[in-house]
């Protein structure tokens, strides 16, 4: 009851908006150089001060428990990265939590205590895949107890045996001419040949390393832990993209391994200004994510905004980039996506070169690219690889596909119920003749078929591989034929539903296709209620909604609404490659030109000759 009252109140009474101003992508702001006047002007100065206070207080607490570190982790991530924006209450709570204090406390010199603590943290022996190997290291005529800890399956066993345990247990017995009295120095300089290794000083970092496929080595008398990168988990190799196939163009798709994904992009761009900034997301999972951008192209305020949003995500576990997309997008309720979701490194590279930002999540073969406009979602990767007349033909086909997916069923209902005069007489007679024996009203008939089609599609995806296509054929052909024979639906309707379905497959962005499939039902309802007036109503509201929406400060309908300088620059129809001189105007990039004004210099040379 209270909930109902609250909901009613929310809808019926106006409440003063308390949300902060939306982010607007502006021109020429240097990173970390925002003026104080701006902050005061937009009313966010006070808020920022508060955040600064929180940051400062967090710094104090951190200093209490962990020593200052400047090095970055060998395994590629700074485990502090995700904690940089904890609020005050979190910090207080954490400071009182003994487990949290312990985690951040410096490591003991007593290996037995460390062992006991690690057993407790990892619930050994309850946890079956944690491997703790105790051994002794020979150091200057004495033996020092030590142990290593790692996850079975996450590490490369061969690497652990050959490069970590073997040297520690066997090589330490060989007499090495070294002057070091400190065992940590001795082990680091003479015993362990591992290339990627860090000496960690807090439990938190050690635990993060172990969870991320490292092998930790605790040695008695040393209050530091060797954390060696020994990742060796099983993973998929680089394969062809499944959802974004092209005939002409690169055939590599992202995999689940973050570093391989970032390397794929680096391999394509070969640009030293490409920044791969790491951020951990997930209070518990600490999922490594990378934010990629080209430093001297991208707008700094956009980088700040993306970073702010990523650091502002507070969830326990982050599994896939699809989840992250939903957590950082501007408008949750807008039916159309506001982030580009792609599994192609070449596509991501192109967007990066244009001044956009990519986000890759460890474990997800899909990268997110922001900001996204409606036109980006409508473009396919192949558009850039084929000659421009062909690309434009494909785009016209795609526009037509969008029209079919979104409006065809609604228009069919509107025409058959309200606007018969629009149909040529012969066709009208054919439609009427085919519907003569159908007992249902056309809207009901259409809904039966649309729902059946969605059912077949969903079942085709969920069902195991070889049976899927069979189900599609059985569903589409046999059921459709049977439905017509049984006079449940008319043959013309089968055509309408099939064409609508095919149209939705031609939309390059999977998420956008979903959105149109969903909206199609609204248009059917509107067409059935008020004919073309209803369709107009739906289109008007949809356009208003989209026109209002922004993706990371960029209006999604740009460059047509609002109109910008790019209005004639290949958003609907592609220009020839030599004409694509400038980067998108709406991104306010640092470097406006993507190629020389005359990119085909040979043409001039030819004329001169």
């Amino acid at each position: 009851m209270a909930l109902l009252r609250k909901t009613l109140k929310e809808y019926l009474f106006f409440t003063e908006p308390d949300k902060p101003d939306d982010f607007v992508l502006e021109e020429g702001k240097d990173e970390g150089n925002e003026s104080c006047n701006d902050a005061v002007k937009d009313g966010s100065g006070e808020k920022r001060e508060k955040t600064e206070k929180v940051r400062k207080s967090k710094g104090v607490i951190k200093k209490l428990f962990t020593p200052e570190r400047e090095d970055t982790a060998c395994y590629g991530y700074d485990s502090n990265a995700d904690n940089s924006e904890k609020n005050e209450s979190d910090v207080k709570k954490e400071s009182k939590d003994p487990e949290s204090i312990k985690r951040k406390t410096s490591i003991s010199k007593d290996v037995a205590r460390n062992l006991e603590y690690m057993r407790k943290v990892y619930n050994v022996p309850l946890n079956g895949d944690v491997v703790i190997r105790e051994f002794e290291i020979a150091f200057k005529d004495k033996t020092i107890p030590a142990f290593s800890i790692f996850f079975d399956g996450l590490v490369d066993r061969m690497l652990v045996n050959e490069s970590i345990l073997k040297p520690l247990m066997l090589l330490s017995n060989i007499e090495i001419k070294g002057k070091e009295d400190d065992i940590a120095d001795y082990v680091q300089k003479h015993i362990l040949p591992q290339s990627q290794m860090l000496l960690e000083e807090s439990y938190e970092k050690v635990i993060f390393g172990i969870n991320y496929g490292c092998c930790a080595i605790f040695i008695d008398g040393v209050d530091k832990v060797f954390v060696a990168d020994a990742k060796g988990w099983e993973h998929r190799g680089i394969e062809r993209p499944n959802a974004e196939l092209v005939i002409q163009g690169p055939q590599e798709g992202f995999g689940e391994i973050l570093r391989i994904n970032t390397a794929l992009i680096r391999k394509i761009l070969k640009d030293e200004k490409l920044i791969v900034e790491d951020i951990l997301i997930g209070e518990r999972s600490k999922t490594p994510c990378s934010m990629l951008y080209i430093k001297d192209i991208v707008n700094d305020s956009l980088v700040q905004e993306v970073r702010r949003r990523l650091k502002g995500v507070k969830i326990d576990h982050l599994i896939d980039s699809g989840e992250l997309e939903q957590l950082i997008e501007d408008s949750t309720y807008l039916p159309t996506p506001q982030v580009i979701y792609t599994e192609r490194p070449d596509r991501v590279s192109r967007y990066l070169a244009n001044g956009r930002i990519a986000i890759i999540v460890s474990g997800s073969p899909f990268a997110l690219v922001v900001p996204a406009t409606m036109w980006n979602l409508f473009h396919a990767t192949e558009d850039e690889y084929v000659r421009f007349p062909y690309a434009n033909l494909l785009r016209v086909v795609r526009l037509f596909a969008i029209f079919l997916t979104l409006l065809l069923p609604g228009i069919y209902i509107a025409i058959t119920n309200y606007h018969h005069e629009m149909i040529p007489t012969d066709l009208l007679l054919a439609i009427e003749a085919s519907r003569e024996k159908v007992p249902f009203p056309s809207v009901f008939e259409l809904l039966i078929m649309e729902v059946s089609f969605e059912l077949i599609r969903e079942a085709g995806i969920r069902i195991p591989g070889p049976i899927g296509p069979t189900l599609g054929i059985v569903g589409a052909l046999i059921l459709g034929q049977a439905a017509v024979s049984a006079n449940i639906v008319s043959p013309i309707l089968i055509i309408i539903v099939a064409v609508t379905g095919i149209g939705s497959f031609a939309i390059p962005n999977f998420s956008l296709a979903y959105s149109f499939r969903l909206q199609r039902f609204a248009y059917i309802a509107l067409g059935a209620t008020a004919g073309f007036l209803g369709i107009s109503f739906g289109l008007f509201i949809m356009f208003l909604w989209i026109a209002k929406a922004k993706s990371f400060g960029v209006p999604v309908l740009v460059p047509y609404g609002p109109t910008t300088a790019d209005v004639n620059k290949g958003n609907i129809f592609r220009n020839p490659t030599w004409k694509q001189n400038r980067r998108p105007d709406d991104l306010n990039v640092k470097s406006k030109n993507s190629q020389q004004e005359i990119s085909r210099q040979w043409k001039i040379n030819e004329e001169e000759n």
Binding site: E16, D22, Y418, A530, S536, A547, P562, V567
Partner: protein
């Protein structure tokens, strides 16, 4: 209220949409009624005259650019001046929005939703007005900027497709009901450009006077051309006095499209275009009504006003007992006297503001 900015093309598109939507209602017919077969001359004459007066108004307004009419009212007479100016504009808007809402709804009902009650049809238009007001001016102008070229293309297509029916002899006698009827009697038809008053509420959203002037001029040129073409083509197809009996001129034209058995009668496509234009027109007018009210009374938010005003507009639109009464309110009263508010009142405000400013400088 959030910071709103309007681009150059967006303003031009607003001007085109505001002036031209009435083409889909009764504009060509009224022109024909007033000047007979010379309706197209009257259309060109009023468009040109409106353009000249607008240029003159811009000259008066130039020095106060950045202030809208309400600000100028305040400059002239303080708070009372602001409120008087506001009330005049609000009264103007509250008169023509319900009348147009009723006309659009009635026409829609007659064209395609014959058995639906008028309130049901009106609710669709009202729904778009309410939602558009929630989304705000930026969303309206952006959608308008995209829709205007598409609607214009559709409109021109209709004019071209009826080309086979053009008959220039239908324009004779060239001066229709007479020169006096065109050039003197046609003066009140300036009211067809009454939306001009709303455009002087928009300058705070455009940074530079030159942009405002240039965009308005572009809009005026396109709008004037469309108004002229619509009347001309209408009279080329329907001769006077048959043309005065046509209920919805452009709708009638689209019905005449006939290219064989398959391609004929494009009125349903016209319907989509026409209803979209009506929604844009009414939404823009409704938003400006709310904005003017908010600004007149110096309120912080306009959103709480949306529902009360929607109820008022809806009730007022249903007040005329039938379509003919609504048309009478439009063509008899509004068309004859609307220019007094939109042109005369606005010019007076500009002159008074200019004098006040000059006095202020001397002091």
């Amino acid at each position: 209220m959030e910071k709103i900015s309007i681009g150059n093309w967006e303003l031009s598109a607003l001007v085109i949409m505001s002036f031209c939507t009435k083409i889909f209602l009764n504009y060509p017919r009224v022109m024909s009624e007033s000047a007979g077969s010379a309706g197209w001359i009257l259309s060109a004459y009023t468009s040109l005259l409106a353009f000249v007066i607008f240029t003159f108004m811009l000259r008066l307004y130039k020095k106060n650019y950045g202030m809208d009419l309400i600000d100028l009212g305040e400059l002239i007479g303080g708070a009372p001046g602001r409120i008087i100016t506001g009330v005049v504009i609000i009264s103007f808007l509250i008169y023509f929005i319900p009348v147009n809402l009723r006309e659009f709804s009635e026409n829609m009902k007659i064209i395609s939703l014959v058995i639906s009650p008028i309130s049901f049809v009106t609710l669709f238009f009202l729904g778009t007005m309410i939602l558009a007001a929630y989304f705000g001016l930026e969303a309206i102008t952006r959608v308008n900027a995209i829709a205007v070229p598409v609607i214009s293309a559709g409109f021109i297509l209709i004019l071209v497709l009826v080309g086979q029916l053009y008959d220039f002899s239908k324009l004779m006698p060239w001066f229709g009901t007479g020169l006096q009827e065109i050039f003197i009697g046609g003066l009140p038809k300036l009211s067809y450009f009454s939306e001009i008053i709303i455009f002087f509420m928009l300058p705070p959203f455009l940074k530079k006077f030159n942009n405002f002037r240039k965009s308005s001029y572009i809009g005026f040129v396109f709008a004037g051309s469309f108004l002229f073409l619509s009347t001309l083509v209408f009279l080329l197809v329907f001769e006077y006095p048959t043309s005065t009996e046509s209920f919805l001129p452009i709708f009638q034209l689209s019905r005449l499209i006939n290219y064989g058995r398959f391609l004929q009668r494009g009125e349903s496509v016209f319907l989509l275009m026409w209803s979209f234009a009506a929604m844009l027109y009414l939404s823009f007018g409704f938003f400006m009504l709310l904005y003017t009210f908010k600004k007149t009374l110096k309120l912080e938010y306009y959103k709480p006003l949306i529902m009360p005003f929607a109820v008022i507009i809806f009730s007022l639109s249903l007040t005329p007992p039938n379509l003919m009464s609504a048309i009478k309110l439009d063509t008899v009263y509004f068309l004859n006297w609307g220019w007094l508010i939109s042109f005369a009142f606005t010019t007076l405000v500009f002159i008074a503001a200019g004098i006040k400013k000059r006095k202020g400088k001397k002091e």
